[in-house]
């Protein structure tokens, strides 16, 4: 209950931000050369000026910018994201169709990055400046330095083209209509490469953060206390250090939600995943204002939600937060 109230409060608090974003985006896109009708004409391969006029009327582009913005915001007030020019159906529907792959991809990459970042970070910190640390840190640097799309392409060449272990792209093999567990496995198989591709850089970041904060926490007084209590090193780390060291990492997740969503644009286009990222790319190219704004709106919500969850998690981890000291 309290959580729900908090959620609403948080949402209300971020309304100005949302408004700022949407209005900003809207006006920005007005400066773009060409509108969705031009894009449609390109797709249809021509048509006369009268047709274009007609279409502009159809897409509501015949009124002034201010009016368009006003209409948009009014509709938004009633949670109506409008009608998608590319897809000829409500933006909400379009986005809902595209949301699952992206969320799945992000969740997978996040867990992958978080888990391995944590483990490797801890190992590195425990063996600081010995060879495991050096190895892990170097790997981290290399992961960090690898352009995700390039890694994706190379992975395709290796695993899909030469080894033929994993599919080159797509969100599931539709020539077979799988059901139940088979379908899950199928999707999982299709998500392996994208997950690595997207998660790699975050893995590197988390690993670095974790290592640093482990080392920092290890130098704190209460760790000395724990040792003075005669606890075994393992217990000191697992029971006392780990939880404290995780806090910075948790904060980072929230801060990078947006970045991750951005990264999925590229990854989705590399692996032909039908996700939000690619939808965004298409709607920019197609000048589909409603869809794009819808995506911005949704991804903003997504980011806000993630941050909210992170705060809750943080509060659960750190009793000091709740009492606000």
């Amino acid at each position: 209950m309290r959580v729900l109230r908090l959620a609403l409060w948080r949402l209300a608090a971020s309304l100005p931000t949302l408004l700022l974003i949407l209005a900003g985006m809207f006006l920005l896109l007005q400066l773009a050369p060409g509108d969705t009708v031009d894009a449609l004409m390109a797709q249809m391969g021509g048509g006369d000026a009268a047709l274009a006029e007609d279409l502009r009327r159809f897409y509501g582009l015949d009124v002034g910018i201010a009016a368009q913005l006003w209409n948009y915001l009014m509709r938004l007030a009633t949670l109506d994201l409008g009608f998608s020019a590319i897809y000829g159906k409500p933006v909400a529907t379009v986005i809902l169709e595209r949301l699952p792959p992206t969320i799945l991809l992000m969740a997978a990459s996040l867990s992958f990055a978080f888990f391995f970042g944590l483990v490797l970070g801890v190992i590195a910190a425990r063996r600081v400046n010995k060879w495991p640390d050096t190895l892990i840190s170097t790997l981290g640097l290399i992961f960090y330095a690898t352009p995700s799309f390039w890694f994706g392409l190379m992975a395709i060449v290796l695993f899909s083209v030469y080894l033929q272990w994993l599919p080159a792209g797509g969100f599931g093999d539709i020539t077979q209509s799988y059901t139940g567990i088979a379908a899950v496995l199928d999707i999982a198989q299709h998500l392996v490469l994208p997950t690595f591709t997207l998660g790699l850089i975050f893995l590197a970041i988390y690993l670095r953060i974790m290592r640093a904060s482990m080392l920092e926490v290890l130098s704190l007084d209460f760790v000395r206390t724990a040792r003075a209590k005669g606890l075994s090193e393992t217990r000191v780390v697992t029971k006392h250090v780990l939880r404290n060291a995780m806090l910075p990492m948790v904060t980072l997740i929230g801060l990078q939600a947006g970045t991750m969503l951005g990264g999925s644009v590229v990854v989705e286009s590399v692996f032909a995943l039908p996700g939000l990222g690619r939808l965004a790319y298409e709607s920019v190219v197609q000048r589909d204002l409603n869809t794009l704004l819808g995506i911005v709106f949704v991804s903003a919500l997504l980011v806000i939600t993630i941050n909210f969850l992170v705060d809750i998690l943080y509060a659960r981890l750190d009793p000091r937060i709740v009492s606000g000291s």
Binding site: R224, T225, A226, K229, K239, V322, S323, G324, S325
Partner: protein, 528 residues
Amino acid sequence: MTRLLVDRLTVRLPRGADRSNAIENVSLSVASGEILCVVGESGSGKSVTASAVMGLLAPGLAIAGGGMALSGEDLCALSPEAWRGVRGRRIAMVFQEPMTALNPLMNVGAQIGEMWRVHLGLDAAESRSRALAALREVNLPDPEGALRAFPHELSGGQRQRVMIAMALALEPEVLICDEPTTALDVTTQAQVLALIKDLQKRHGTAVLFITHDFGVVAEIADRVAVMRLGHVVEEGTAREVLTNPQHDYTRALLAAVPGLRAPEPRELSPDTVLEVRGLTKTYASRGLFRRRKPVRALDGVSMTLQRGSTLAVVGESGSGKSTLARCVVGLLGTDGGQVVIGGAPLPTNRRDAAQLVQMVFQDPYASLNPRRRVGAQVAQGPIAIGVPAAAAMAEARRLFTMVGLDAEAVDRFPHEFSGGQRQRIGIARALAMKPEVLVADEPVSALDVSVQAQVLALLRDLQDRLGLSILFITHDLRVAAQLCDVVAVMRNGVVEEAGPIQSVFAAPRSDYTRSLIEAIPGRALFSA
């Protein structure tokens, strides 16, 4: 019998340190039921000795010679595993910083319970009930609550009690206390000291008590060892060492300890330079998740400072004394009342206020910009109000000599100075503005006693020479007694009692003041 024996112990420092050994040929012994106080200023190596005994030397430090024995058993011979078994079970330790010594994310019950779980392998329920008993023994209010509480929900004193409960959980033969009360208020300090003494009597524990404060020594020590630069310079029973010190260093230290003898009353000038009228200040701090109730830091505080005199504001943490200081210099806006200097209310304009009131800060390390030359930091104020740069620098040099520094030091950076020297620079910076009033906020509490004495002397001297009017904020009545004419005792944002220091000391009107005075460690000895 001898519980702990440290025999000609030498601990080597890593290369590049200011000296080769942290401690050299240190020999100590503590018998059961005995409290040995190891006294020394910072850098004397007393803490290193403690961690050596715990087998928790910081990385880089290594035992180079000598040995340690616990009830006759050679500690140095122990394997790390074995030593871990000893640690906490047979030798326990209480640390200085109660704020950071406990795991912030683990509730108290769990942290104490760990002792039994790890060493005796008891189950959660059992160890929990024992933890409860332990908390009762250190007489925490509401032990059940404390069991569930997280460290940040306890006061410093309570945390220290928890630490003690934890340390004594398994009835160790030896208890090592590393400045356990230094971070506490006097009254709390007194209670914790009493507690330690009492427990130690009941359990017959051998206590190695490390402190820098002879007052504390006088309170609890059976025997005393004085350390300096890694060496034990003098050892003996408390009485011998305190009353009849042999070593010069010990004498110097004892001399530096501020006594409680209030100075002779002086004739105060009739004109009031600073007047605080019904000052009120409320903090409305807010947590991430829920608003917290506002805190009244100042609640109608009034006081006056006569020109050329010193007004000491004494209080424990949370009394609002620092808030007062910040309001007086205009760093904080007030919610009510006003500050009058030289007959006129404190101007809101920073530049004008600067020439009326200046401040000396508590932390000598934080109060100077590490990235700028100290001379510039002293001169920048005058320059800001239009003094030509050259003149300002010349003045800075003069001030440096005045506060007892080398005039050429103006071109150095802060990290090239010791704490005491920095405090002198801070004073010079304040004086550069030729203020009507000088506010000193705990100017000596971060310094070693000897240095403390010097800085206090400097202030007194400057007051005589320049007729400074000083508002002196401190938590330590003894320090206040050194140089102030009038004292105001604050508590929870209100002035409990104010008056000439002599009368307040002689006949405190409020119980709180009395309790403060009584809590002063070693009072019996030093007021004699």
